[in-house]
């Protein structure tokens, strides 16, 4: 087989993998939709609780995650241009921002639990912890994946396989940012102001 034909086959496999990953992300949307629906239904089942959240704190979380989504995009652009050092810098920044976001989220959970507002207190809080916690679990997975990719790129540079993985990783990261926009709007903004 000629190299041109091999490259064409490789290209086709890559686009199939990316499509498969896209289908996974869309089914994950359905998972989050069911948690959002549960939250919306249980929102009234509260023993006092909607006044618990600090909006400036959550705005900071949102802006941090949004910025990390942007830097992940820049990292992917660098990967397309095979600029290894820039890939490491941008995905490194993304990872730090992601860690910062996760720390903020854990701090909030910890504070709520200490004040006696854990998931056991009301239906509203159960739904809140499940929805936001599932998002946090995805973020954690993304961070582990990102650290593995940083190691791989450091070792082997931006190969075709690494580029494919980085493309999927940044898709995943943008998806988590979109889910967070809805958590920010539905849980925090609508929850606190109505």
């Amino acid at each position: 087989m000629s190299t041109a034909a091999e490259a064409a086959v490789e290209q086709q496999n890559t686009s199939k993998t990316l499509f498969g990953f896209w289908v996974y992300i869309m089914t994950d949307c359905v998972l989050f939709a069911s948690l959002f629906a549960t939250f919306a239904v249980l929102r009234g089942s509260t023993a006092g609780g909607q006044e618990l959240f600090s909006l400036p704190f959550v705005l900071t979380e949102t802006l941090v995650l949004l910025t990390s989504s942007y830097t992940a995009g820049l990292g992917l652009l660098a990967a397309r241009g095979r600029r290894t050092n820039q890939v490491l810098v941008w995905f490194g920044i993304t990872m730090l921002l992601g860690l910062f976001f996760l720390t903020m989220e854990i701090t909030e959970f910890h504070k709520l639990a200490l004040e006696g507002n854990s998931w056991r207190r009301s239906g509203f809080l159960s739904a809140f912890f499940t929805l936001v916690g599932t998002h946090g679990a995805h973020i954690t997975t993304g961070l582990i994946w990102m650290s593995v990719m940083l190691y791989k790129v450091m070792r082997g540079g931006v190969t075709a396989v690494n580029l494919k993985r980085l493309t999927m990783l940044s898709l995943f990261w943008h998806f988590l940012d979109i889910i967070w926009i809805f958590i920010f709007t539905i849980v925090y903004l609508i929850g606190a102001s109505t």
Partner: protein
């Protein structure tokens, strides 16, 4: 990088536009809701619209949806997922709203009187 490639994968310009627009919509939603505790349905609708605009901003500028070459399988799957999500969320809310209507802590005889005008 060819022109078509750039369209399908995005460029620095498209990412920066997406980032800037997302910040604008996030801050707008925040300022609308901040410090209010008396918002009604109009505020909820407004915030929901802002979130959905931001969803499409990010889908287009970050995920490059709709800019792939034909056949557009990604877009097809997205459309299907969107439909499932809409049915799931609005269906649940609708059903539960009906359920809580029939669940007003009245003795069942009174519910029958109220709903069907039937007097035993």
């Amino acid at each position: 990088m060819s022109k078509r490639d750039e369209a399908a994968h995005g460029s620095l310009k498209s990412y920066t536009w997406g980032f800037g627009l997302s910040i604008v919509f996030t801050l707008a939603a925040y300022l609308l809701a901040h410090g209010r505790t008396d918002g009604g349905w109009s505020l909820i609708y407004l915030l929901a619209v802002l979130a959905i605009i931001q969803l499409f901003v990010q889908l287009v500028f970050f995920l490059h949806l709709g800019r792939e070459s034909r056949p557009r399988w990604n877009l097809t799957v997205f459309g299907f997922a969107f439909m499932v999500v809409a049915i799931l969320v609005f269906g649940s809310l609708w059903i539960m709203k009906n359920l809580s209507y029939g669940h007003q802590h009245l003795p069942s005889s009174q519910v029958i009187v109220k709903d069907e005008g039937y007097q035993p």
